[in-house]
């Protein structure tokens, strides 16, 4: 359906450029010094509304010209202008090579006011070179050339950025310098986007298609004008801006996940899911009759996995004498993927020196359909040279349908009359789940030069994200496998039906005033003051119904044959809507202001200043038994100084040093003392949780030998007070321990990074490596056995200090990619390798042991070939090594997720 729609658009747009003329001007644009082709340069014919953008190999072609004289003009930011008059005859194909010289003078004028064409690699380097703070920039061209269909994949190739992925889903959150997502900020067009996800403050990067992106900026240090809640750094996804020429690009591809070569795709009847809960339909007092709930969504079928399909287009144009620019992009992804997962729970074994031992084993298979549609629109209006207004709208829609089939068994506990694995009571748990996510982000912003030296910037943002998960249905059966391996039939254990909804809404306003003045020919001073106010609210609503087995005449549980002939009793007939433990509302108000100066001397660039952030957070729950923790308010104010120095050693190299203070706030759900459903264990919030405060020191040497080449080496130190980590805490009503976010003291993080990229003729290599050492001393439980006067042994649990790395901190991160470019065959290939060393995902409470995500290596291959003027064939293979995510505690495998290889084949069309 959708791809047909795209085909029609391609067809109609192609038709508009058709005419009867026969002459052609074609050629190639290259750097006059390095002879490197320059992609993305715009060639146009003066006085005519005609032009072309160079492709990845610097080639362009303007056809259907009538005979006559033309003036060719080329504009390419960062390079000098080019103009030449040519003459063509009918049927003539004129070939021309255009050399462009790099111009630093030109760049300077551009950065003063306006924007860089940062969508290609060489200008990415430029922005890194001139940026006020320590940044890495990934351009759209680098993204188009590699196997990245979404921002998440693309990000892994930025220096020291890795991704945290959740089991069974494609969701991914950025980890900068090996630090957990919580220490980083994800922005879209410089603005925080609310998340419907209960667990994260940010949207998953996998729902942002890379086609929408103009570039990704990763800032590893903060200036006072940036929001202060980033310790690792900030990821800014910058969406495409209206181009100065008509722009149309489209792509489509199909793919398949190799995991479905080995097994079927599990599905259920998605149409039978009732979107509204009984309470929503009939009111809070409605008592549900036994037969109310649908059954086909618990009737699981095995099918062949459908093909994954991806399509997208971007269209941009300027109107009204280039004053009004519009760009619209849409990206559609309908992916089918799977995970085979092993999940085991480890506990102390008091009989064996308290070594960890596996207590429960679960095998899970996930089959997931994820449909993403991202629609972004950008309108900018240049009122005059001094005033510009822009409107950005980003709308993301995600539909998720997931089947989880699980077999669980306890080795220890849960009435363990078993002689080994595979005996005892075995639970078969089958779950159907659909979710609709809507994220709307509307931003209105303006830039005004209000006087000679004064610039005023303002932004207003409305952001709203909701996730609606109707009727998450979970069927549990159990059977007993006797020591002789004979088995009882399956008994119906329980069905739960949960209607869950949550939402996040943000309203923000920000403004700044900048004063810039030249001190002399080489020196300038900039003073900036501004502020931001944001009001965020969040709600979570859950309504759960328990369907217990209807007892047979003798009172015994019934045997399960199939879902259609099962009898159940609705245990809580009015649902849990009024008093569900997971229901809450929460808010966060942030008020901040800053003063910043930037002094640009001949070789030295100094930025410094101070930011003040005032935070108010609070929540309200409505439990059955209210207590003093049912609602709470927290307030705190942080003073965040920042100083950044850039010393220009020469035209090609810089030395940077910086200090800044930053914070990390707990996510709202982490404060609310109610359980939030997790993949394996539920997480209970902790109102006593303190926000993290960090002092950050950075040093970096940068060398830019030539176009598209770079070499960085840097070191950093962070002292983080009260990092937030997850561990077990106290007992709940069932006598079980809960997982809760907690503070364990102060962590020290020390690291070094190196970035290098270079091209040798047709080959290119780019790589980066970060080493990080982190340490936190925390108390852990130690079971100490002593003998009393009578010689009787007593074991008590005592606290004992242990050193360990910070939770989520990766020691080594290595990204290497090899590029091959063949201009003659217009082909391009890239092999990308990523390595991450072991990481603590969760703090184990026992002394001497920790959970570690095992080291991982990922390999991806992509290639493309231009087959005609407009069409490029593309192919991508991800996760070539079929790398699992394995969590071990000592040598015990606690969890293992296998995703397998995925393939993608398609084409790209460019006007």
């Amino acid at each position: 359906m959708i791809s047909k729609f795209y085909a029609i658009i391609i067809f109609t747009l192609s038709a508009t450029v058709a005419s009867a003329q026969t002459a052609v001007i074609k050629g190639r644009i290259a750097d006059s010094k390095s002879k490197e082709p320059l992609p993305g340069a715009y060639v146009h014919l003066d006085g005519l509304n005609k032009g072309a953008t160079t492709d990845a190999f610097g080639n362009f072609e303007i056809n259907k010209l009538s005979a006559g004289k033309y003036k060719i003009k080329v504009k390419y930011i960062g390079f000098g202008k080019f103009e030449q008059e040519v003459k063509v005859k009918d049927n003539e194909v004129l070939e021309i090579t255009i050399p462009l010289a790099e111009s630093s003078q030109n760049l300077k004028t551009v950065t003063l006011y306006g924007k860089l064409n940062e969508s290609n690699e060489s200008s990415s380097r430029k922005s890194e070179k001139t940026a006020a703070n320590i940044t890495n920039v990934l351009s759209v061209r680098a993204m188009e050339r590699s196997p990245d269909i979404n921002a998440a994949n693309a990000l892994t190739r930025v220096s020291a950025v890795t991704l945290q992925r959740n089991s069974g889903s494609d969701d991914a959150y950025a980890i900068i310098r090996g630090m957990e997502p919580r220490y980083n900020n994800t922005l879209i067009n410089g603005v925080k986007v609310t998340s419907p996800d209960p667990v994260s403050r940010f949207i998953s990067l996998s729902v942002v298609p890379s086609d929408l992106l103009d570039r990704i900026e990763v800032s590893k240090t903060l200036t006072p004008d940036m929001e202060g809640d980033a310790i690792g750094g900030t990821v800014n996804l910058v969406f495409k801006d209206a181009p100065e020429h008509e722009y149309f690009k489209a792509n489509a591809s199909v793919g398949y996940s190799a995991i479905f070569f080995g097994r079927k795709y599990d599905n259920f009847n998605q149409g039978s899911v009732l979107r509204k809960s009984p309470t929503e339909r009939f009111g809070p007092d409605y008592k549900v009759p036994g037969g109310y709930f649908t059954r086909p969504n618990l009737d699981f079928t095995k099918n062949n996995a459908p093909l994954t399909s991806l399509a997208g287009f971007t269209f941009g144009k300027r109107f009204l004498n280039n004053k009004l620019g519009i760009i619209i992009a849409d990206s559609y992804q309908n992916q089918y993927y799977g995970t085979n997962s092993e999940f085991n729970i480890a506990i102390f074994d008091p009989k064996n020196d308290n070594k960890p031992v596996i207590s429960d084993i679960a095998n899970r298979t996930y089959s997931t359909q994820q449909l993403n549609n991202g629609l972004s629109a950008h309108v900018d209006y240049k009122i005059d040279d001094k005033n510009k207004i822009a409107l950005d709208n980003v709308f993301l829609y995600t539909y998720l349908a997931q089947t989880r089939l699980s077999i669980d068994t306890s080795i220890i506990g849960n009435n363990g009359g078993r002689v080994g694995p595979g005996t005892g009571t075995v639970y078969n748990d089958s779950r159907s789940y659909i979710q609709n996510q809507y994220t709307e982000n509307l931003k209105l912003s303006g830039k005004h030069i209000i006087a000679d030296h004064f610039q005023f910037d303002w932004t207003g943002v409305y952001s709203n994200a909701t996730a609606n998960s109707p009727d998450r249905a979970d069927l549990t059966l159990n059977r007993l496998i006797n020591p002789d391996h004979s088995s009882t039939p399956d008994y119906y254990d329980n069905i739960s039906r949960i209607w869950q909804k949550n939402g996040n809404k943000d309203l923000s306003a920000a403004g700044s005033l900048t004063y810039t003045t030249d001190l002399n020919a080489h020196n300038s001073l900039q003073l900036k003051a501004g502020g931001l106010y944001r009001h965020s609210t969040r709600f979570n609503n859950q309504n759960e119904y328990q369907l217990k087995a209807a007892a047979e005449a003798n009172g015994v549980k019934s045997v399960f044959t199939d879902i259609y002939s099962t009898n159940w009793n609705v245990y809580n007939t009015t649902g849990t809507d009024l008093h569900d433990k997971a229901n809450y509302t929460a808010y966060e108000n942030i008020t901040s202001g800053y003063g910043q100066f930037r002094l640009q001397l001949h070789q030295l660039d100094i930025i410094g200043g101070i930011r003040v952030e005032d935070t108010k957070q609070g929540y309200n729950t409505n439990p059955v038994i209210p207590d003093e923790r049912s609602n709470a308010k927290k307030t705190y104010t942080d003073l965040l100084p920042s100083l950044q120095l850039k010393y220009k050693l020469n035209e090609l190299s810089n030395l940077r040093a910086s200090f800044f203070k930053s914070i990390s706030r707990p996510a709202l759900y982490e404060l609310v003392p109610t359980p939030t459903r997790g993949e394996a264990t539920d997480v209970t919030g902790n109102p006593d949780l303190l926000h993290s405060e960090a002092n950050n020191f950075d040093l970096r040497y940068e060398l830019f030998p030539k176009n598209e080449e770079q070499f960085f080496v840097g070191a950093f130190y962070k002292n983080i007070k009260n990092p937030i980590e997850f561990a077990l805490k106290n007992l709940d009503a069932g006598g079980q321990a809960q997982t809760a976010p907690q503070n364990f003291g102060t962590a020290k993080v020390l690291g070094a990074e190196i970035v290098y990229s270079r091209y040798f003729g047709d080959f290119g290599v780019s790589g980066n490596y970060t080493y990080t050492y982190s340490n936190i001393k925390t108390t852990k439980s130690f079971n100490s056995t002593t003998s009393d006067a009578q010689g009787v042994l007593h074991t008590v649990t005592v606290d004992k200090l242990q050193d360990r790395p910070l939770q989520g901190q990766t020691g080594d991160v290595l990204n290497v990619s090899l590029l091959y470019k063949n201009d003659k065959h217009r082909a391009f290939a890239q092999l990308a390798y990523t390595f991450t060393s072991k990481t603590i995902p969760f703090v184990y409470d026992g002394y001497g042991y920790d959970y570690y995500i095992q080291p991982q290596s990922f390999l991806a291959l992509s290639g493309e070939k231009l087959v005609s003027k407009h069409f490029t064939l593309t192919g991508k293979v991800n996760n070539l090594l079929n790398t699992p995510t394995t969590i071990k505690i000592n040598n015990l495998v606690q969890a293992k997720d296998v995703y397998n290889v995925s393939f993608n084949l398609g084409f790209r069309y460019a006007l």
Binding site: G555, Y571, H579
Partner: protein, 411 residues
């Protein structure tokens, strides 16, 4: 030291003198008319009396003897407050309400005048019981608590009586519990004294009679548990927090017809000891239970001891009414296969009908029965019962809840 040196100084002669003196004094005093002091019976007013009628919300004070109260909504006893009941108080609970105890609960009935708690509908699972998660102390004596266990507003199944705090003293004696829906008692970490109670027909299709976990300690003795859905008495330590260990002496209980309603995938046990718990299991009588005494492999097997228990079945095999192909030989499961428990020399283990029949005064022969099934049995023992005189004397000379020394169950 000082005392010791004195004793050494004392000669044998002086000891004789002292004895003679004491005897003389005793003879003289026995001739004397004793002085009698008689107090006039003065009515001491009850502190904080609660007036009869509707009650709900934050409550403290005393539910008065002979009065009837109607609970219309949840009652909460705050930390530091006490809710008491005098003998003969009658409490009727409406609207599926529950008692939340953060302070002290003192339900003190007497043998003649028990305290009574029941719902207005008198149907199983129609009120919420006592949610004493963070209570300071719980004392229940001679009290009827019936038909508890409906779901709460958050959809959670409610145990009839739950404590989940380490070392909370819980003393439950001579009381009756019937027709609960989940665990009847869930006492996690508590210091328990559970004596001479009768628990009948509780747990819908799951739930233990007395569930002791997470470092609970104390004694469970002379109780009768009849037709519980899951296990009669379950001991476990938390999997994630192995210390302090649960350690309970379970002796002289009579446990009959438990463990059938969960289905054969999760058979219930008369008594089970699991996950790092320590049990001392003696002198109990187990009749017609799905599984008998199960010492799981993950229990603290080394420190657990047991013996002098009587195992009996009134039928050779029990045919599962749901799955007729399943025929359960109850006698095979007295000590279930795959676990660490083994028959002890002191046990009385029946090998056929009639062998080691405990000779209950009245027993209807129930094996599996529904939740709420009437308990019209009399588990006292007839003369000639093999349970008499075969007990471990550390606990009692006899087996079961009804013993000849009068220390046993009074119901």
């Amino acid at each position: 030291m000082l005392y010791n040196s004195k004793t050494i100084d004392m000669s044998t002669k002086s000891i004789y003198l002292m004895i003679a003196g004491i005897l003389l004094a005793a003879i003289i005093s026995s001739c004397k008319k004793a002085e009698v002091t008689t107090f006039n019976e003065v009515k001491i007013p009850t502190s904080s009396p609660i007036s009869a009628g509707d009650i709900s919300g934050f409550t403290k004070g005393t539910l008065l003897a002979g009065q009837t109260y109607t609970v219309t909504g949840d009652i909460t006893v705050k930390k530091g407050d006490t809710l008491s009941a005098q003998p003969g108080a009658i409490i009727v609970v409406k609207n599926n309400a529950q008692f939340n105890i953060n302070g002290v609960l003192n339900l003190l009935g007497s043998q003649d005048k028990p305290v009574t708690f029941n719902s207005d509908t008198n149907k199983p699972g129609t009120w919420g019981g006592f949610q004493c998660d963070t209570a300071q102390a719980v004392n229940i004596k001679w009290t009827h608590i019936d038909n508890t266990g409906g779901p709460d507003l958050a959809g959670n199944p409610r145990r009839t009586l739950v404590v989940s705090k380490l070392n909370v003293p819980v003393d439950i004696e001579d009381s009756w519990f019937s027709n609960g829906q989940d665990d009847l008692m869930g006492l996690f970490g508590a210091k328990v004294t559970i004596l001479r109670n009768t628990i009948s027909s509780s747990g819908s299709t799951d739930g233990e009679g007395i569930n002791l976990k997470s470092g609970a300690t104390g004694i469970v003795a002379y109780n009768v548990i009849f037709s519980q859905a899951g296990s009669g008495i379950k001991l476990e330590t938390s999997k994630t927090i192995p210390f302090p260990q649960t350690e309970v002496a379970v002796y002289n209980n009579t446990i009959v017809s438990v463990g059938w309603r969960r289905g054969s995938a999760e058979p219930g046990r008369s008594v089970s000891v699991g996950v790092n718990a320590i049990g001392h299991i003696y002198n109990n009588i187990f009749v017609n239970c799905y599984h008998g005494l199960e010492i799981f492999n993950d229990a603290d097997v080394k420190n657990t001891n047991y013996g002098n228990n009587l195992f009996y079945a009134t039928v050779d095999t029990f045919t599962d009414l749901v799955v007729p192909t399943i025929k359960i030989n109850i006698r095979d499961n007295f000590y279930p296969a795959g676990a660490s428990g083994t028959p002890q020399a002191t046990d009385l283990i029946s090998n056929t009908i009639g062998n080691y029949d405990p000779l209950f005064v009245k027993f209807d022969g129930t094996v599996a029965a529904p939740n709420g099934f009437p308990n019209l049995n009399n588990f006292r023992l007839q003369n000639g019962s093999p349970a008499y005189g075969t007990g471990n004397n550390k606990y009692n000379q006899d087996l079961g809840a009804y013993t000849t020394d009068g220390k046993g169950n009074q119901h």
